[in-house]
Amino acid sequence: MKLATQYTRVSMLTSLVVLLIAGGIYYFAISYIADQQFDRDLAEELGEMNEFIQQHHRLPKPFEFDSYQAKFEPVGQLMAPPRLTDTLISSSRTSKTASARAIIAIVRLDKTNYRMTIVESKETTDDLVQIIFLITILLIGLLLLALLLANRFLLRGLWQPFYHLLDRLLAFSLTGKVGNSVPETNVDEFRELHAAINAMEEKAGSEYLALKAFTENASHEMMTPIAVITSKLDNLVQDESLTEEHLAQLQDIYNAGNKLSRLGQSLLLLVKIDHQLFKDAVEVHVELALADKVGQFAEITSKKSIVVTSKTESVTVTASPYLIDILLNNLLGNAIRHNNNYGQIRINLNKEQLSIANTGLPNKLDADKIFERFEKSPASEGTGLGLTIARNICEGYGWKLDYSFNNPYHTFTIRF
């Protein structure tokens, strides 16, 4: 749920509750004040009645208006203090009943006690309360509507810088791509956030660059010692007094040196791809490069009796021919390396995608892991960087490299 929605919801609920309570208090207060007024009126009325009875020694005539009535009934009751009560008044004319306030008092005339009831209609007051109530409801409605609109439009506007910053964070990449620029804002919080994000981007970027420079230098520095090892070995094997046992050990050292050198070259290549140092992009005919590669591997495929079937269209991409060569080399090399004898490789190339499917182990590989650095099968002789390099080459050109498994085919697909 969005913050604005949440905020709107809470503020509206609070306003509603407060307004309802206020409305209730308002209603009771007005009712109370009105009742007080009636009670005063009725008490005054009673006083006037008593005065009339004192002066004229007779009861006044009972009267009956729509909103004001008085009647007298002789009762055997003793004197009691007047009491005020709520009651109903019915009008003889309209036969409509309305709420009313009454005072009941015992008056004494000629040794007879009379119960005197004076009733006064509260209809007009009720109308007033109703009007006030309606106005209050209307006000609540208006207020809520205003809150809703204000929150929706005002908050959305206020939060705009936040969404810009969020976009920028999402677009952030260590490979040096700069995210969208964020418009200036005069909200302090967002300005601080913006500054913090800028500082973070800069720091992460510079640390990443330092790390890459380190990788590059380390790989370069590695090469000369490996060259020394290899050249010393090359001289050593010339010695005719070496026994077979010695030579077998030298072979192992050679192989380790070879692995180390491949590893260094692969790491360097990764750094260069990340740096986007290959600027020799030209139009490359993928189908020709592919046919070339299949030809280069023909020796190995025929030895393993692997059947390669290709279905290709003419596709051109703008890319570095060197990187395309590496990309195809790694994908096709894997398809052969991890294939069975008498297996199959199916190559499919069209304008949208290139897919290379091969038979091999009957289990699906972990699609998340295989593209990670140094992730390889224990039996593999490779560096564990081949697929990482392939993926990074694809990313550099905005293509997508995916793995899927549909028994018995392991398929790698590049979507251009």
Binding site: H220, E221, M223, T224, I226, A227, V228, I229, T230, S231, K232, L233, D234, N235, V237, Q238, E244, L247, A248, L250, Q251, Y254, N255, G257, N258, S261, R262, Q265, L268, F278, D280, Q296, F297, E299, I300, K303, Y322, N329, G333, R337, E381, G382
Partner: protein, 223 residues
């Protein structure tokens, strides 16, 4: 053949000069730019091996200097950086070839021989080793006057072995020469065995001489 090796890593320099000396080759060395320029100014060489990363400046300066003083020896650049820019600027300046560390000495020698051959026999690209005569332009191989039909890989291999005649050439070096990084070593060793078996037989059929000697577990020697 007279060689000048310019390389700042003394151990590597020692290995190279050790491998190249003998067999009628003279190998001189320099460990920095100044010494290199001095030697180039004083003597003539058949081929110069030049490391780009020298302690007192870029090896490319040496090539520029050679141009200035009108020397046109064959130059083979050695670099620790497999960088296209370095390679292009080196070749544009007039270097003949470019090799990236680490390399096998056999590979280095084959490259140097190729540079030397290109320069030494102007226009006449023939190579002879005992009764094997190779026309490098037509890629035509004759043994004792008989034409021998070789596959592309057998032909490459023959040139490689002739360049490293009398030396033990490891299977690792051959694998890298023929396939680069494109193949698993174990697989390549099988192929090398097959190719050498075929090449050996083809040469043996016509010359009656077995040129190849297998060195157990590590490689072959061509004699």
């Amino acid at each position: 053949m007279k060689l000048l090796v310019i390389e700042d890593e003394p151990v590597l320099l020692d290995s190279i000069s050790n491998y190249f000396s003998g067999d009628g080759n003279i190998c001189e060395t320099a460990t920095n730019r100044e010494a290199a320029m001095e030697k180039i100014g004083l003597y003539d060489y058949d081929c110069i091996l030049l490391d780009i990363g020298l302690p007192d400046g870029s090896g490319l300066d040496v090539i520029r200097y050679m141009k200035e003083v009108g020397k046109d020896e064959g130059v083979l650049i050695i670099s620790a950086r497999n960088s296209l820019d370095d390679k292009l600027s080196g070749l544009n300046l007039g270097a003949d070839d470019y090799i990236v560390k680490p390399f096998h000495l056999a590979e280095l020698k084959a490259r140097i021989m190729a540079v030397y051959r290109r320069r030494a026999f102007n226009g006449v690209h023939m190579l002879q080793y005992e009764d094997i005569i190779i026309n490098l332009d037509a890629m035509d191989v004759r043994v004792s006057e008989h034409q021998v039909i070789l596959t592309r890989k057998e032909y490459d291999m023959l040139l490689y072995f002739i360049a490293n005649k009398g030396k033990v050439v490891t299977r690792n070096a051959i694998a890298e020469h023929l396939w680069g990084d494109n193949i698993d070593l174990a697989e390549s060793f099988d192929f090398i065995y097959t190719h050498i078996k075929n090449l050996r037989k083809k040469l043996l059929d016509h010359s009656g001489k077995d040129y190849f000697k297998a060195i157990y577990g590590i490689g072959y020697k061509f004699n």
